[in-house]
């Protein structure tokens, strides 16, 4: 049954990352973070981008470390789970670099 847990790791990470970025977005807009500046730019989008990139890095690590070799349905499903999570995180959270933060 460990293969089921390994299959769920990628999508599970997406779920956590999606909640974290969405939560950070809500907190930031409520607490007026876009007005706060850091040397690299406004704090709010930077925080979300950093979180997103960190999450994508973990997805990358999952693909490398959690990807079994070999054929068979179970190995294929673990690989599929890794990629589903990574693509979902990349696609659903790309607006952190493309959309107006709190407008």
């Amino acid at each position: 049954m460990t293969w089921v847990a390994r299959m769920l790791a990628g999508p599970g990470l997406w779920a956590v990352l999606f909640c974290a970025v969405y939560g950070l977005h809500g907190l930031g807009c409520a607490w007026d973070w876009p007005a706060r500046q850091t040397p690299l730019g406004p704090l709010h989008p930077l925080g979300m981008i950093a979180l997103w990139l960190a999450g994508l890095a973990v997805h990358g690590a999952l693909i490398v470390l959690n990807g079994p070799g070999g054929e068979g349905t179970q190995a294929g499903l673990i690989r599929a789970g890794n990629w589903i999570g990574a693509v979902a995180s990349a696609v659903t959270l790309f607006p952190v670099i493309a959309a107006s933060t709190c407008g």
Binding site: A80, V91, F94, P95
Partner: protein, 836 residues
Amino acid sequence: MTDTRPAIAPNPPQRAIRLHRELDRVWTDLPGWRGFLTSVNHGTLGLRFMATAIVFFGIGGVLAMLIRAQLATRDGAFLDTALYNQIFTMHGSIMMFLFAIPMLEGLGLWLLPKILGARDMAFPRLSALGYWCYLFGGIIILLSLLAGVAPDGGWFMYVPLSGKTHTPGISADVWLLGVTFVEISAIAAAVEITVSILRCRAAGMRLAAMPLMGWYMLGTAAMMLVGFPPLILGSILLELERAAGWPFFDILRGGDPLLWQHLFWLFGHPEVYIIFLPAAGVLSTIIPVFARVPILGYGAIVAAILGLVFLSFGLWVHHMFTVGIPHMALAFFSAASALVAVPTAVQIFAWIGTMWAGRVTMRLPMLHVAGFFLTFVMGGLTGVMLAMVPFNWQAHDTAFVTAHLHYVLVGGFVFPMLAAITYWMPMICGRFRVRALGEAAFLLILVGFHGTFFLMHLTGLLGMPRRIDVYPDNPEWEWLNLISSIGGMVMSAGFALFALDIAMQWLFGRRSRRNPWRAPTLDWAMALPAPSYNVASLPGPGRDTADALLPLARGEGLLPGAPRGRRETLVVDPGSGRPDHVAVLPGNTALPIVTAATIGSLVLLMLAGLYPLAPLAILAILWAAWRWGRIMGTADEAAPIPVAPGLSLPEHYQCRNTLAFSGAVALLVADGTLYASLLFGVAFLTVIAPNWPAPDSGLSMLDLWLAGGALLAMAGGSLAARLAESRRTRPLGGQAALAGILAAILGLALLAGLALQLDDPTRHARNALRGVLLGHAAVHGVIALMMGLRSLADIRAGRVSRTRRGAAPVWRLFGDFWLATSAVSVAVVVLQEVLA
């Protein structure tokens, strides 16, 4: 491919008719009306679920026709506005909660043990409890329509419109209490479908090789465990606001109407996929049969299910694109809503590829599959359109959305269900259908459906909003509506003809031969109509397709017959399907209907506003729950049960990892989601809602001491439950159980002390939320207390032993859950106080 699974030797063949009589005597329902009240058999209950759901579909359909009659002309004077509002609210609510969900539950209950090679679901009494809760709740909702006090706030019951100020009567309470009552059946079905798929499969059937229907229903059940709790929580909160004035959604007192929308759609969007997945499972089962080839891309389809299960929880805000959420947040959900089309596309192309690889015979079920393609593809594409934020701003709340959702739900659920009914009818009634009627019904439904809804997209683009009853100044919408109304009547005629066809088949069809479609799956490895016990002996390696029909009937499979006169089925390891133990399932009993009646009495008392009498109903529920737990211990020390030559397995009483334990874990997943939704509510209101920070709470160090003491008592209870399990027998086990009970009582008493300290919950949402956190802890304290009492009673009565653990493992689970959630609640309140 060579079969690498360990072989299980066949049992010696017996006379099939003798096995049949022996099994049927044990598994069949009681005769007559007693059978109606006491059946726990999955076959009976699955069919009953589906038949009841179809009746509600008919009622919802009649309501739809009333809507179409009203809208056929712009000055429709057929219904007055108040009644019209009740009717469209009831149409949506009935179709969602009383048709679609129970229909798929019924299909799962009826089909899964057959297709996975078991004799029943994991929790037969739970199937029955779910059915009675569904029936009673549905009847309450229907009666409100007859009494003219039906819910009228739209099926999604937005606050403040559904709040006490704007909906003063009991109509909204009917919805909140009635639907929550019905949702008990959804949670029950989700728990037992999850456990049954993971643990009640044929010996040696690996998870990664089970029929796709198993994967689809596993995904559905997992989604239900996580998807329904937000709705249940939302309903509880809104009912508390309406009945007791606790302000969760009242903006002036720190609530926020958007919290309701979040909780509702956190359920509401996954709900669409909860409905779609079983239907897709039907398609993945039926298409290969009629194409006469194996499904193309088994692994890709499982991966698609995995993607859908997760992604569908990231879409809910696309129902809220116009509430004023910032564009970036909308874009997250827009992208997720578009992405969810990908796993759907994977399945559609896998199905087309399967038909491509095979040679399709166009029997009636395949016609309905064609109806699915003709309808669902367009519904999916308009769904992608609606996922685009700017377009959604225009199309939201217009007839375009009405058209879209009917394309998705009729295409993605009703057509596959029609296919399923026509496909499995021979197994249900043992007869083959009468020719020609079914084809005519299909054509009428298809033409009527597109006649109703195709042009409705345009009606929406021309600006017609949803939920209006007249449009005197808009002649440009009239011809479109008239066409839709005519189409609706045609579609209704089609459904009536379909029902007639099914009735004709039941009454006059010729006897069907076994496995009439020559399907490969195990569900057809039985006599027609399906017997009460499904198979005389259970399938195993080498005997796990429909071809094993005769050997299984002769008892060559596992666990043949019912020599011990009990209902027995095999429990396997979730991943490998290795046989683990034999579960002894309960027989016919009235306990489920009695329990549902006690819950129903609570619902009715609350509807009537007789709150002082509610504790009586709660006591009745606790009494029923106590009776329910009697099954957890036994005084009988059984020898291992011979399953096959050289393979004997223990009874479930002698195992720790039983079905009940798995079920408790699944239930706690739902329970944990409910609690997580509550935490989301706390965070949402604290951060987002206007009119915060709240006035000073008046909490003092005394409260912290009380809370700390309660947590210590809970920890002591958890420890005692561990000891009670590890010591088990008298006197040490009994002393530990007694200590656990006392700890639970102490914990509850300290919680009561905290409740007395709590600031007035009607004053501000913060206080109301704390009241709910306390209530959550108290409910779980009572559960832990009941389990402790059950353990003590079983230990005293000798119903546990060195080898039999009784209720203690489940007690531990709930005790730990009580402790963990209460600790988090304390931390949350402390954090709120520090931040304020």
